[in-house]
Subunit: 287 residues, 2 copies
């Protein structure tokens, strides 16, 4: 593959940012990769592992020569960081991100972008339970979906470059409106996390004659609640940034649970059976 | 190990009943094992695999010489089956089961038990996603918990024999009140299934501009919702049989979800963080 851009700056060289860097290097799609991270130990590790070519002296110096800046930090911090780096970007530099929420980020980042610079929102649907530069690997995105959210105001050439970079990592790229992205991920990802946290909280605090109910958990409960072991700060940020769509999803779920509860109250065997069967069909359909 | 009983009748020779039979045979704890099942093909398979020694001509003939009858069929059907077999049991025969719900079963079965026969409720905490005699294996219960629910009216010797049989399978046996069992399993097992079914139903029917939201599912959603692929009839039965405790658990969960929802509505970052952190601590505690 021929080179797509000369200089890439990665802000947040963890699993997502580090794997983006590794994959592009392996594909020969970038020249130099500069790493920026709030954790100096993590940056040192990234340099040792060859994920980045050098550590930036500071954020401003790290981004000033970059053709593309990739940001992978907790979603709430992205708009402020973009405001901070804008004065240092060279003309034509494209800023993109890997956050799980898009509408707020895209709106706030587009607002502060000067005419000579471009913002393209992105969200790779990939991950593992590990984090940090040591967890990064070049095939993380291979065959996985990456959603980009250009808007009516996005520069076509800038979007094309970000598409080509993600394609170079092996990802299947698709594009959609930021708000549409947020409604889909409110349902398929953010809602399940909220439900898992609420469930573990409820079972953990349930008072069954003073017994520790969790000590009776078996494989089903463990699988079901694994996502409640996710990073609280990351999910707090996502809930704050996708509040509207998430509340709508929670209310849809509560209505679904209330419907099932009513069938249980009524001892409606046929009604329960059809509810469970329909859910099972949905679930078996995604295997 | 020396023999504990001479003749065991197993009604429902599937994963649970078949594995109970295999394990006891391997331990040398029983003499003859007689199989009874509504599915003749499954019984033939159980005979071929050596799980049972012979197929009963009919239910009455199958139980009449048994020292212990083990019942592993959908929970709603257990009390009626016990009523049906009672006239044919020899004096001293002990009837036990492997159902996931205990209070209703124990009450109804104790009621119909003649003075010369005994009922001991049981629930092994083990299973796989497979079913039928072909899925049975002798080590299924090894190191797993088995809960027995003798009551004030239970015969001590009968309970001892059932404890010894389960210990012979390698299970760790504990005993508790049937109602206590049902409250614990409403929380740790029945509630998560209800929540998983409600969640998949909600996401599957969510209308996001006509898009199939489920097509965006990744590993987290699949793990989280695996239990929504469980058998609808089994879970309908469990919901019917443990209705009271389950409704209480659902309401506890709904209160927990409402509390978290309020923190999201209020954009209460600190409140969300502490909720998620507490849930994560509960979850990490069971790893």
């Amino acid at each position: 593959m021929s080179i797509i851009i000369d200089r890439l700056a990665v802000i947040g060289v963890g699993l997502i940012g580090g794997s983006f860097a590794c994959a592009l290097r392996e594909a020969g799609a970038v020249g130099t990769i500069i790493g920026i991270d709030s954790d100096p130990e993590n940056l040192k590790k990234a340099l040792e592992l060859g994920i980045i070519d050098r550590i930036a002296c500071c954020t401003a110096e790290g981004v000033e020569s970059a053709d593309v800046v990739f940001i992978s930090i907790p979603v709430c911090s992205i708009p402020a960081l973009v405001r901070e780096i804008v004065p240092f970007l060279k003309p034509g530099c494209i800023v993109t991100d890997g956050g799980s929420v898009k509408a707020v980020i895209v709106r706030e980042c587009e607002e502060v972008m000067p005419p000579r610079n471009f913002f393209v929102g992105g969200h790779p649907i990939a991950g593992t339970e590990h984090s940090g530069a040591a967890a990064a690997f070049p095939s993380l995105y291979r065959g996985k979906r990456c959603i980009l959210t250009p808007t009516a105001g996005s520069d076509i050439n800038a979007t094309q470059i970000i598409i080509r970079l993600w394609q170079a990592t092996g990802a299947d790229v698709c594009t959609m409106e930021p708000e549409h992205h947020d409604r889909i991920f409110a349902e398929i990802s953010h809602l399940p996390h909220i439900v898992a946290y609420a469930l573990v909280h409820a079972v953990g605090t349930a008072d069954v004659e003073g017994e520790n109910v969790l000590s009776y958990s078996a494989g089903g409960f463990r699988d079901f609640t694994r996502i409640a072991s996710s990073d609280p700060v990351m999910w707090r940020d996502i809930a704050l940034m996708n509040r509207g769509a998430l509340l709508k999803s929670i209310d849809g779920f509560s209505a679904s649970l209330a419907e099932l509860r009513k069938r249980i109250v009524d001892s409606d065997a046929e009604g329960m059976n059809s509810f469970f069967t329909r859910a099972k069909e949905f679930r078996d359909g995604i295997l």
